[in-house]
């Protein structure tokens, strides 16, 4: 029974891995560079595995979620900067995901977009308010598994498999190296989105993980995110074998569904839409809570999604306010896909501010005892520290130089 539950959890994690950032960056990277950037996805997926395993272990052993660690290691002042940047990025992501939900609903129903944004926002609020979190995780996680249709589509499109394999070897054949670098940064940013670890580590604290759960933590991180990465490959292969050849740039979320519709027909389209709807809907709940966790942990308030809303009043008020702000942002008519690009790039910039404190706490034997980082975790941790620093420093210059990936 326990194994069964773990398997269910991992299944939900696969469905929950892909969000609007992954959809946009993987398909457009494929549409622009074919399979060339597959190796970057591998780096990104291993990165999120390393990072989330560490956050989960810190949560299990010390009972600290990410922003607890950020506050105590960086102090009030620097961690305030970390908090503000995390909240801005979170809010942009939340708005983009709500917009994504509305786009899916529009494609499914044909009703006007503006009304569907409102409907999406209200529906998310009501679902979070009345449904228990176990069910939220399952419903959205399993629904998101419909995205596996893109894996079938990737095979059905008969890509040149030798070219796909070559994509896993770092190389660059292009006239525009800056654009290549921009997409590489975007793919890393999309795979290593920090809201996922805010949410994941806080969940671990809430479920009162202890050292006995470290195996579960490792399995969740490696298998859940690993197989989620598999979906990212599929999306890029679809981008490379359909969109690149036909010369389509997937500027709209709806055009991504073509990737399943062309090889698989109506059923492919439907599964893709439902998959995107649940994946993006689940991600909007994750970002919503990530924002409330961060603020509550930074200020020492009571928090918790398993609590009654009245058990953590300021936490509850925070997510309600964030939902209204996110909804307001999409209602201005900003394009969710463009907003996603900005959110992913800015999150890449803010990444070191949460990653460094976690690395420090994970090495602190005062709390972590024998569960502190071993040599392997530290080698990976330090390599990724370098990767994250490079990404953080180059993200905005590349965004400006490539005109947000337009040239």
């Amino acid at each position: 029974m326990k194994i069964f539950n773990i398997a269910l959890g991992i299944l939900a994690a696969i469905g929950g891995f892909v969000d609007i950032g992954d959809l946009v960056f993987n398909v457009s990277a494929g549409a622009t560079f074919g399979y060339q950037l597959l190796w970057v996805v591998v780096i990104g997926v291993v990165g999120i595995i390393v990072y989330s395993e560490m956050c989960g272990r810190v949560a299990a052993v010390s009972g600290k979620a990410v922003f607890d660690a950020v506050r105590e290691r960086l102090g009030f002042r620097t961690s305030l900067a970390a908090l503000i940047s995390a909240q801005v990025v979170n809010l942009m992501t939340l708005a983009a995901e709500i917009g994504g939900v509305a786009i899916c609903l529009q494609l499914l129903s044909g009703l006007p977009y503006r009304w569907l944004i409102l409907l999406a926002g209200i529906a998310l609020g009501v679902i979070v308010w009345v449904t228990s979190f176990d069910w939220i995780e399952r419903i959205f996680g399993y629904g998101g598994l419909c995205l596996l249709v893109f894996a079938v589509a990737a095979v059905k499109l008969h890509p040149t498999w030798s070219a796909v394999a070559h994509g896993f070897v770092p190389h660059m054949e292009t006239e525009s190296p800056l654009l290549y670098a921009y997409f590489a940064i975007g793919l890393l940013g999309a795979a290593m989105t920090p809201y996922e670890v805010y949410f994941y580590s806080s969940g671990g604290v809430e479920e009162q993980w202890g050292p006995k759960d470290l195996g579960l933590n490792k399995a969740n991180a490696m298998i859940g995110y690993g197989l989620g990465g598999f979906l990212s490959f599929a999306l890029m292969i679809v981008g490379g074998s359909l969109f690149l050849e036909k010369g389509i740039q997937p500027e709209f979320l709806g055009s991504i569904t073509l990737g399943a519709e062309v090889p698989l027909g109506q059923i492919g389209l439907l599964l893709a839409l439902v998959g995107i709807l649940f994946a993006v809907g689940g991600a909007s709940i994750d970002t919503l809570f990530a924002g409330a966790y961060n603020l509550a942990q930074y200020l020492g308030w009571e928090w918790g999604r398993y609590r009654h809303p009245s058990g953590a009043p300021r936490f509850t008020l925070t997510w309600l306010v964030l939902l209204v702000l996110g909804l307001g942002a999409v209602m201005t008519g900003v394009d969710p896909v463009q907003l996603t690009e900005y959110a992913v790039i800015f999150s890449a910039v803010a990444l070191p501010l949460t990653y460094v404190p976690i690395l420090l706490v994970a090495n602190d034997r005062a709390y972590m005892r024998e569960y502190a980082n071993g040599r392997l975790a530290n080698v990976f941790g330090l390599v990724y520290l370098v990767v994250i620093m490079i990404v953080a420093v180059t993200a905005i210059p590349l965004m400006i130089l490539t005109n947000v990936g337009q040239n």
Partner: protein, 117 residues
């Protein structure tokens, strides 16, 4: 308290406060120390609350302090039970004057149907 040495900067300041019932009720924002030059310093209290922020982060801290209401709660060191990964207190938050923001907001949140499911 055990006689274990505590690194005040690393293991105390900016840590989560938990009351005697395990409720999260603020952070250790500052420490009050006593002792003259040449004497040994002693921690006499933990200070918690927005009032301390104005000294900690320049103008942003002053803005944050004003937004937060500017209050500071002083928790006597005798009321500290344990310093581990969190700082545990011997009394309930309401007895110490901590966690008042949550207590004040609760009646409003409870008015929304389903808040206490």
């Amino acid at each position: 308290m055990s006689t274990r040495k505590i690194d005040l900067g690393l293991l105390l300041v900016d840590h989560q406060l938990l009351d005697s019932e395990g409720r999260r009720c603020g952070n250790v924002d500052e420490l009050a120390l006593e002792g003259g030059p040449g004497e040994s310093l002693e921690v006499v209290a933990i200070l918690s609350g927005p009032g301390t922020w104005r000294r900690r982060a320049g103008w942003i801290g002053r803005v944050a302090a004003r937004l937060g209401g500017g209050g500071t709660v002083r928790v006597p060191w005798e009321d500290v039970d344990q310093v581990a990964s969190h700082v545990k207190l011997r009394k309930r938050a309401d007895q110490l004057g901590l966690g008042r923001g949550d207590d004040r907001l609760r009646p409003y949140i409870e008015k929304i149907p389903g808040a206490d499911r």
